[in-house]
Every structure is written in C-alpha cells, then in structure tokens.
C-alpha cells in the first residue's frame, strides 16, 4: 500500500514535470523570429555599420508591417569588438541559448568568416552586409550564408575596370602590406590590364602603424601615372587622402574601399574628385531617396551607407520569405530557409530588383562615383555624381570562378 502510494506519487510527479515542461516547449516554438545584429558598435566601422544598422533592421520590420501581419520579431544587437573569437562566441550563444534565428551585418571580414562557420555548424541563417571579403562566396561559402551588399571583387572590378575604361589607364598603388591590401591590389590590377590600362608602380607599406604617407605620395606623383589606387581601409585610407590633399597630388585618387561615411568625415574640400564604388547611394533615384527619408527620423544627422542598405534589404527579403514559407520552415534548418530565399527574386527600395545566386551571392548592379566639388554640392550629404554603371550580370565574380562547392553541385 505504502509502496503503491509512493509509486503513484513519483508518477504523478513525473507527470507534473512533463506537463510543466510542455507548455514551455510550445511557447518557444510559437514565439516568432529573433534577429541578431552583430556589428561594430565601438570601433572603426561604427559609422559605416554600427547603431544605424540596428535601426535599418527595425525600419525593415516597420516597412514590411511585421507587427500588423501578426509576425512577432525580436531584435537584439551586440558589439563584436572586431575580434573574431568574440564575434563567434556571441553568435554561438545567440544560436544556442537566446533563440536567435538570423544574424545580419558583421562588418569585419575575419569576424564574418568566423560567424559564417558558426551559422553552418548550428544550421541557422547568416546574411552578411558589412564584410568585404569575397571568400564568403568562394572556397569558404556555405549553404547558410548570403553575402549581400558588396564584396572585394565588385569593388576591384568597378573601380579598376570601369575607371580604366573611362580614361584612367595608368595606375600607381599605395598598398597596405597584408592579405586584404595585397588581394585588393592584385584583383584591381587584373581589371585594369584587361581594360587596356597599365600599372606603372606600387608601394607596399607596413601595416598597421603607418601614419606618414608623404614619401609614397611623392613617388606616386613622380611616376606620371594618372590614377592613384589606395588599397587600404579605414583610418589608413583617410590619412592617405588627407596627405595627398596636403601635398597637392594632382592624380585621380581611387579609393578601393571607401564609404560615404568616410567621405563625410573627410569633407568635400579634401575628398573632391576621388573615384569610388558603391552599390547604393542614398540620392541615386526616387526609391533610394524614399528609403533614406524613412530612415531619417531614426538618425537625422547621418545618411545610410551601402552596408546599411544591405542590412535593410536582406532583412526585408528574409521577412518576405517568412510570409511565403511559413513559420514551420523559418524555425527549421537554416539551409532550407536560405534555399527558399534564393528561390525568390528580391526587390526593395535600396537595390531595386535583384536575385540571389546559388553560391550565396546577392546580385545587383554596382556604380562608380566621383565625389563632387564643394561648389557642385547642394547641401549636406550631396556628395556623389555617377561615372559608370556595371550591370548586375557583370558586377560580381562569375559563378564558376569562385571555387564554391555549392556552385559545382
């Protein structure tokens, strides 16, 4: 009798425990989607991505009317501090513990590659906009990752190829002596020579820590080249451009990785005449202006970069996919979600109509711009005038040249 009662008690206890755990599981499944914005909130990429990228995700939710459609979407954000292990750690924790379904942004190639690895491990979704490396859709591509706004190939092809075609046919490079700088110079050189131009010289400088570019600039000037290719990033680019201005360098400066936020920091007086490539410019057409207008209340003093546009555009496409595919698919394996996203054509105010290739490359046109003279600019952030357009089918690396295993299948 006693034993029976004990058994009953234990069974009842187990039953209660099971019952208590069931609603919890049910709730977790019905709780909607969670988007993690992993970005640089404190370092050198804060202005080109950073807090405004988080706002772009929120704007995408508002524009899509996620709440009105009964879709519950939470947004979390974190700073990867430009350390790949910190970024990978946050991504792991988000996927493992916090129920994050999608990570967007991640400006910094090293961190982005690490996060792509984590997304593959955990079979979730990663939509990159901020990182430049074209490795994300080459040897290191995976079925969980889409590379959205731009990449190094696009920059090199547009700035190198289109500029050479437009008359900038002799080049001199100032290159940061590390993998990124060398890759940028190598790729750009390929497009220059393919378009009938030539590279007359180059200097690699030690990275990081170089702040004085004067001797290199004078050497570049005396080489007689028409274009100075600046194959570096961030503060190095800013320093090179400022010093080129101070030394009165008369060559066309070509910034191989320069964002509108950098141009804003430099000011038109210093930056005028530089050629650069962006896949998005806020004042490009009626749709981009409408997007920027909607974003304005969230950040009155800034205009979106192509990274911000990429974050918005990729989030919007994810939400559209969610409606089309249903919650069951969205909470399932990341590879399936990404496959659905690839199957659906994209269209948004930032990049217009586009598509996503099998290797995870988002396809849209790229544009070569020249920075206006102060006299041409009508107001703050009126900075670019168009030089050339590379159509969508030529803007990115051909599918069979990247070496992505997905492309072969």
């Amino acid at each position: 009798m006693n034993i029976d009662r004990l058994n009953l008690g234990r069974r009842a206890l187990l039953g209660t425990a099971a019952a208590a755990s069931l609603p919890a599981v049910g709730r977790a499944q019905a709780s909607g989607l969670k988007i993690g914005v992993l970005t640089d909130l404190s370092g050198p990429y804060k202005d080109l991505a950073g807090p405004l990228a988080v706002e772009c995700v929120r704007l995408a939710l508002e524009d899509y009317g996620a709440a009105a459609k009964g879709m519950k979407v939470d947004v979390v954000a974190a700073d990867h501090q430009n350390k790949p292990d910190v970024g990978a750690g946050i991504a792991r924790q988000w996927f493992d513990q916090d129920g994050v379904d999608l990570i967007v942004e991640v400006a910094n190639s090293g961190v982005a590659l690490a996060v792509a690895g984590v997304a593959k491990d955990k079979n979730k979704v990663y939509l990159n906009s901020g990182a430049a490396t074209s490795d994300l859709t080459a040897a290191q591509c995976n079925a969980n990752t889409i590379h959205w706004a731009y990449d190094t190939y696009m920059l090199a092809k547009s700035t190198g190829g289109a500029l050479a075609k437009a008359g900038g046919n002799s080049w001199f490079f100032i290159t940061a002596d590390y993998a990124f700088g060398k890759a940028l110079q190598r790729d750009t050189t390929g497009f220059i020579t393919a378009n009938g131009g030539k590279v007359v010289g180059s200097i690699a400088y030690p990275f990081p820590g170089t702040t004085d570019f004067s001797s290199m600039l004078l050497q570049a000037q005396s080489s007689g080249a028409k274009v100075l290719g600046i194959a570096n990033a961030g503060t190095d680019t800013i320093n090179t451009i400022k010093q080129a201005k101070e030394f009165g360098i008369t060559m066309t400066l070509a910034g191989l990785l320069l964002f509108i936020s950098d141009v804003h920091a430099l000011g038109l007086e210093t930056a005028q005449g530089i050629a650069l490539t962006d896949s998005f410019y806020w004042d490009h057409n009626a749709r981009t202006r409408a997007f920027s207008e909607r974003l304005k209340p969230k950040a009155p003093a800034a205009r979106p970069t192509m990274v911000h546009a990429g974050v918005y555009s990729s989030t919007l496409h994810y939400l559209k996919t969610a409606t089309a595919a249903g919650m069951g698919v969205m909470k399932g394996p990341g590879t399936e979600v990404v496959a659905r996203m690839k199957a659906m054509p994209t269209d948004d105010d930032c990049f217009g109509p586009g598509s996503i290739r099998i290797d995870g490359r988002k396809i849209h046109p790229s544009y070569l711009w020249e920075i206006k003279k102060p006299s041409e600019s009508k107001g703050p952030w009126d900075y670019y005038k168009p030089i050339a357009t590379t159509p969508a089918d030529q803007a990115f690396r051909p599918l069979n040249e990247g070496g992505c295993p997905l492309a072969k299948a």
Partner: protein, 310 residues
Amino acid sequence: MMGFSRPQLVALAVMIAVIVAAPFAAYPVFLMKVMCFALFACAFNLLIGYVGLLSFGHAAYFGMGCYVSAYAAKSWGLSAELCVILGFATGAALGAVFGAIAIKRQGIYFSMITLALAQMVYFFATQAAFTGGEDGIQQVPRAPVLGFISMQNDLAIYALVAVVFLGGFLLIHRIIHSPFGQVLKAIRENEPRAISLGYRVNDYKLMAFVLSTGIAGAAGGLKSLVFGIATLTDVTWQASGEIVLTTLLGGLGTVFGPVIGAVIINTLEFYLAPFGSWVTVTQGVIFVACVMAFRRGVVGELGARIKVAL
C-alpha cells in the same frame, strides 16, 4: 598533499566542484573560454609571480599555439590531444629561443625585449601564408580525442578542456612547490644572493620561461579547438596586456589568483559585449582601482584577510 596546504585543498575542491557543476548552470562555451584564459594566466603567473619576470609578450606563445594547433587540426587532421601537445611544443620552442635572448637582461629591459620579440611574431602572423593573415584560420574542425572520441557535443569538449586545465593547473602548482620552485622564489627575492649560493640563475629562469610559454601555447591550442578559429587577436600586444591585467587583478604570486582574474575579465567581456566600448572603459577603471586600492589582487587581499596563502 602535493604541496597543498589545507585551505588550498579546500579551495581546490571548491574549484573542481564548480568546474563539474558549472556547465549545467552556465553556457559551456563561455566556461571553456574562461578555462583557456585561466590556464594562460596561470602560466603567466608562474613567471611574474614566482620568478619576478614580467614577460610583456606572452600572447605570442598563446597565439602561435592557437595557429599551429588550428592548422594541425584543419590541414593535417590530427586528433585533439596531439593538437594541444603541438600547441605546447610550439610555445615551448618559441619560449626557448626568445627566453634565451630576453633573460640576458633584467627588469624593464627584459620586458621590452619580450615585447619586441612578440611584435615580430605578430608581424610574422600577418604575413605568413599559413595563418591566413587578418582573416585567420577559419572553420577549424573540433578534432576527436585519440581519433575516435567525438568532440561535437559541447559537454564532451568541455570535459577535455577541464582535464587539460586541471592538469596544467596542478603541474604549475607542483612546479612552484618543488625544490626547483624554491630556487625560483629565491631568485625572485634576491638574485645576487641566489648566484652567490651557487645557483646558475639563468638556467633556472630559462627553464621557468620555457615551462610558462609551453603551457601558454597549450592553452592557445585548446582555445582554437573550442572556437574553431585562430586569429590575429590572440597575438596582439593587447592580448599580452590583458593577461597582465587578468593576473594582477586576481593576485600576483597566488595559485588561485589568475583563475579568479580570468573569470572576472572574461565575464566582463562577455556580458558587456552588447554595450560596446563599455568593455574597455570598465577594464580600465578596474585596472586603476586594482592598482590604487588592492594591489595584492582579489585573491591576494582575501588571503591576507583570512591569513592563509591561497
């Protein structure tokens, strides 16, 4: 037992209990990171706390341990324990060369030489082909132990990390409390007197240096397996600085100090990550507070308060 005093045995028992229980309460990957850095800090503490040598480039050994272990796991497909041993060997080999050069000088000159050599390692890491430059070595597989025990489960690799950490911790404790360790402490207190007593202090210093860098390399090797990446972050001078801060905060020359320091620093980095620059601001404030108010560190102050050496 093994040179542990009774309070230290109690502390060790508590630490082991926490290590066993923690993965069921906290996030295992985070705990593994803490243990990797705790082992690194313990190795660093062996030098600064017991020989009085401030090596300001310890990230070089940790970072190269990371790279070699990651490369071995990814490109050669070696098993996990061999990767960690390779990490140890890398740190020790590098330490033997750098140590031999650096111990010829004392004090600030010693620190500067170690820093300079570490910066050379950093430069090597940015340029060498096998490190992948600023992208690092990515998507390193979690190699199985002995070739067949899968490490895919977080708890499995947690066990490996815990075993290596405890092994390293006990090894360092054993070194400190051996006759060899007594000589090291004698050198720390008064080097000329140690020389006059007939000890070849440079040999002792070099041996301690190599042991320390070897363990740092093993900690690095472990970390690359846990996170699946090896990057420049771990060879920067900032990483060297952070390990000095970690050890100082926990308590120089205490056995448990570096562990507590690693817990505090990593917890800050982890939980303040959503707030951006507050990580570095907070670390700075803590560093100043530590140097101004409690110079013996958390464990050092605690030990002084209850009058036991922890």
